[in-house]
């Protein structure tokens, strides 16, 4: 904040006079008759800015999603009277995932010391604001659930776990809205599918961690099977999408990453889980694959967003093509 004074105004006058004196006799630098770009754009330069997010954000999507889905499994297992060790493990995974999520988000800020400014206001129209508040509730309640249980306060633990599951449902899906409701073409084009895709990925990773912890419940296997089936369907949908907006999901390095992530999240765990109805080893392999797939998928979406931002074509499509 400065105040204009006579010196600053004199300087601006001076700039204006100098600028008017400049003279260039050339008429551009492009030789007459040289090839012009076929598609209209300003030298093919990007229109939107790429996301500034680094490795913390996809890792947060992964950890927060797995934790969110895990808190839901904990409640479902408890209500059905499943083995207490499963409920306890699911609660712990939720608590650990939530505890990791906070620092990851804070690390990604340009000014980490100001992270509390996230809680200055609540803005439902900002998915980032909704997410910050959800994580606050989720982190508190998941921690509350395991701490209360350790202290023997079962009622408080159960109430806390229920609140954790409700916020956990938001945790495992809102990241899709966070990416979807932006100006990045590849994300915006999937505003309707990303929350479901990320939710399935979260469910897959939560069941995977529980499977790797040695839980062999058929219910877990069925959940993982459903998630893997949905991820397979998502993969097919991405492959068959020929729009310009979705090109980064098919072409280049980001396309390859998306495909690898899709293979480890979809078809591979799907087959292994089907075998895993009878085989413990196949279940564990499916779990490892789904975990890896979920992580790669999150990285792939962020990187695809960066590639998408560099392409001006989706934004310059005619008014008839877009709503």
């Amino acid at each position: 904040m400065k105040t204009p004074d006579q010196f600053s105004e004199k300087r601006l006058e001076q700039l204006r006079e100098q600028a008017a004196l400049g003279r260039v006799d050339a008429k551009g630098i492009r030789p007459s008759g040289s090839p012009m770009p076929a598609t209209p754009s300003y030298y093919g330069l990007p229109i939107v800015k790429p996301p500034v997010w680094t490795w913390e954000v996809p890792l947060y999507f992964f950890a927060g999603g797995a934790a969110g889905a895990s808190s839901v499994i904990a409640i479902a297992a408890q209500l059905a009277g499943a083995s207490p060790s499963l409920v306890r493990d699911a609660r712990w995974i939720a608590a650990i995932g939530a505890a990791a999520s906070g620092p990851l988000l804070i690390l990604d800020l340009g000014r980490p010391e100001r992270f509390l400014n996230m809680l200055r206001v609540f803005k439902p129209q900002s998915a980032m604001s909704v997410g910050a508040w959800t994580l606050s509730v989720f982190g508190t309640t998941t921690a509350g659930a395991v701490i209360a249980e350790m202290l023997g306060m079962k009622r408080i633990g159960d109430a806390s776990a229920l609140a954790a599951a409700l916020s956990g449902l938001v945790m495992s899906t809102y990241t899709g809205v966070l990416l979807g409701a932006t100006a990045i073409p590849v994300w915006a084009a999937h505003a309707k599918t990303l929350p479901i895709h990320f939710g399935a990925s979260a469910l897959a990773s939560a069941t995977a961690i529980l499977t790797l912890r040695g839980h062999g419940e058929q219910a877990l296997n069925a959940l993982a099977l459903a998630a893997a089936a949905f991820e397979t369907y998502t993969g097919i949908e991405i492959e068959s999408d020929r729009s310009i907006d979705s090109e980064p999901l098919r072409l280049g390095v980001t396309g390859t990453t998306t495909r690898i992530g899709g293979f480890f999240s979809g078809p591979l765990p799907l087959v292994l889980r089907l075998i895993g109805i009878r085989s413990k080893r196949a279940r564990r392999a499916a779990a490892a694959s789904a975990l890896l797939g979920s992580l790669i998928t999150r990285v792939a979406w962020i990187e695809a967003g960066k590639a998408s931002a560099a392409d001006p074509r989706p934004h310059l499509q005619g008014s008839q093509e877009k709503e």
Partner: protein
């Protein structure tokens, strides 16, 4: 306070970059590197965290009636780009800290003492204006010279413009001035002149708008920009469906798993399977909570099973 705006008339721009210099000086914007781009005389390339005014140098095939240029020469046009200060601003809606606000002049302003550099505005701007400054960590963009406007002065870029290409004033007046100018240009034979101001889109018009010639897309001015908030409804609906599916599938599979285990296990205490399988004694009970309740008043029909179920639950927890 009247809502103010910028009308940037590209037909008057001479590409002197006085606006870029004036803006950098007044706002103390740091150096953001220097590259020879090879793209006409434009070595600034884009608006960004340390560029609030950017002069574009558009070279393209000559079109008939494009004043002054012979057909043997490419046309050379200039336009000074700036933050649009959108009617519905994506960055403002996305900001989770409330750092980005709308000022009394109708402009969109980032309060530097509140921004924590989350970067969500960066992906929410449909024009790629705002960006996070490396080293500083906060997001920056055109301030519309909020401090100068407070003091009753015009923004630095408008003051330094030698040709009147950048016009500052009340938004309503500027819109009328743009219409008059367009009519004048058309009367002079420049049929390809147009006003770029996306009033019909979800952006809801911009407070900084442009008069350009030819295809506006050659200036990277999108014909149909969209404020990302219009995607929220469909995206949150999808999130709701996903959440319901996760919750429903979890509850269903575990409920079914319980029933199935109860079905295959013998009615007596299944010692060998107790660790992994569900307690068989839940068979016939709708919910565990009900089991412990009914244990107190046992119906005469099947007393033994229910009492054991309640007891077992107490020990296993």
């Amino acid at each position: 306070m009247a809502v103010t705006g910028f009308l940037t008339d590209s037909t008057l721009c001479i590409g002197c970059k006085a606006c870029e210099v004036a803006c950098k000086e007044w706002n103390d914007v740091p150096d953001d590197g220097f590259v020879w781009s090879g793209l006409s005389y434009d070595n600034t390339l884009a608006l960004g965290h340390s560029t609030y005014r950017h002069v574009k140098f558009v070279e393209r095939e000559p079109t008939a009636g494009c004043g002054g240029n012979s057909s043997a020469q490419v046309t050379w046009e200039f336009s000074s780009d700036v933050c649009r200060h959108c009617g519905n601003a994506g960055c403002l809606e996305a900001c989770p800290t409330g750092s980005i606000v709308r000022t009394e002049f109708g402009s969109v302003f980032v309060q530097p003492d509140i921004c924590n550099g989350c970067g969500y505005c960066v992906v929410s701007c449909p024009f790629g204006v705002i960006d996070r400054r490396p080293g500083d960590g906060r997001a920056f963009k055109c301030t519309f010279c909020y401090d100068r406007q407070k003091a009753g002065a015009e923004p630095a870029c408008a003051k330094a413009c030698p040709t009147g290409s950048i016009i500052f004033g009340p938004l309503d007046d500027l819109e009328r001035a743009a219409d008059r100018r367009l009519a004048q240009l058309r009367a002079n034979g420049m049929d390809d002149a147009s006003i770029w101001n996306p009033k019909e889109t979800s952006v809801g018009g911009t407070h900084a708008f442009f008069i350009v010639r030819g295809d506006a897309r050659d200036y990277n001015l999108p014909p149909n920009p969209q404020v990302p908030t219009v995607l929220l409804k469909q995206s949150w609906s999808a999130a709701g469906i996903a959440a319901a599916a996760i919750a429903g599938a979890s509850l269903l599979t575990f409920a079914l798993g319980k029933k199935r285990n109860a079905g295959v296990t013998p009615a007596g205490p299944a010692a060998s399977r107790r660790r992994t399988a569900k307690p068989s004694t839940f068979a016939g009970n709708a919910a565990p909570a009900q089991a412990s309740h009914s244990a107190a008043r046992t119906p005469p029909g099947q007393p033994a099973r229910r009492q054991r179920s309640a007891g077992e639950r107490r020990t296993t927890r």
